[in-house]
Symmetry: C2
Subunit: 230 residues, 2 copies
């Protein structure tokens, strides 16, 4: 049984893992970086160009009044961190997975990819992006799918406060899922273990639903889960 965290808490008795945010100079990565850095995690921004990563790191440090966020080329970032979060654009997903295979060995890779176009949203075909990643990376990397549906602009404001979004965490390894549930909680979002990696194609597809809702009703639609026993 995996329990969802409901409040803004971080583990207290173990050192926090360092987190590399690969492709972390886009929309989603900096928001997650800000929230995790605020919660005390050591953050490394990764990018194809070290200079670009360092520029984003400097911006984030300036916003938070800290100097602990680093910027590195993706491969070095992956090797340096305890845990990696992939926030590249969907078109770059395949290449970065292939390029970083050796760097990710022994680590958890959190895949945030949702293969949905904003202009013409439609559900992606299975297998899920995270399953594709797991297949390419093999059993030495534990892939966890999460954060595909989190509106980037909600991450960047009101740091330290909770966000009205529930994160659906899919993984074949429940222990890895539990670590990502803790990360989600640390970033201010409730999170739930939503089954194996194949389920994450649905979570990707939910992005298509949310884009459709936003087009018709305006706003930043997000999903919450109700009715659970605890």
């Amino acid at each position: 049984m995996i329990t969802g965290e409901k409040a803004l808490t971080t583990p207290t008795n173990t050192p926090l893992p360092s987190i590399a945010i690969l492709g972390g100079t886009g929309k989603e990565g900096p928001g997650l970086a800000l929230r995790w850095a605020t919660a005390g995690y050591r953050i490394i921004i990764g990018s194809r160009q070290a200079e670009k990563a360092q520029a984003t790191a400097a911006e984030l440090n300036a916003r938070l009044g800290i100097n602990t966020i680093q910027g590195m080329e993706n491969s070095q970032a992956a090797r340096t961190a305890d845990l990696c979060v992939l926030t590249v654009l969907q078109d770059a997903h395949r290449d970065i997975i292939e390029n970083l295979k050796a760097d990710l060995i022994g680590k958890i890779l959190v895949d945030t990819t949702a293969r949905v176009e904003f202009q013409a949203p439609k559900p992606p075909a299975p297998p899920s992006a995270a399953r594709l990643a797991q297949t390419k990376l093999g059993p030495d990397v534990r892939v966890v799918a999460a954060f595909q549906n989190v509106p980037a602009n909600l991450l960047k404001k009101n740091l330290g406060q909770t966000i009205e979004v529930d994160v659906l965490v899919c993984a074949d390894d429940p222990q890895a899922a539990q670590e990502v549930i803790q990360l989600s909680t640390a970033a201010g979002m409730s999170a739930y273990y939503a089954g194996g990696l194949d389920n994450s194609v649905v979570v990707e597809g939910v992005t298509s639903i949310l884009f459709s809702l936003n087009k018709h009703y305006g706003g930043d639609a997000a999903v919450r889960i109700t009715g659970l026993g605890n």
Copy 2:
């Protein structure tokens, strides 16, 4: 622009459509029937056997203290009603669509099918059940996908009160979607237009997520939408 209904309302100036609930003797159909009958809709329970449909209709009438719910063989039910709702088990989906094609001409067919097994939940492959239905039925029937994620046991209790479930309504015809949004509201659930019929494969797949959540956390998980502009 399609607007979501937030309260328990029904259209006031037009007569309510009669509703056939095809395959309506299972788990989901009677719950919807009870709620719509409570809201004043004329309900016809359909089944492969007229006697079985009549027995269910009699049970529902007895519960509500009315005698207006009828039971008929599916084909007759479809022809008699203004609008049809399909609540068959997934294995029966294909056959009933083929068998009722002529009876459904000119009508809206609401497809509630989620092709997910409770014991081994996994996302269904596209195309969605509703898209398959639309393709088989052709342009003379307007298929709307809805109610795939509504826990049946929530429908049957506290009739007349709202349910903490949001219904994602997918249809290629926005006007047909709007009619189903009104039906959902009448049954006590908020509903939103979530894009075209192809999006409904995601809504089916959400059932796989909800089954996974129920297994880990207990309860009757359901989805709510937050963050919309209105």
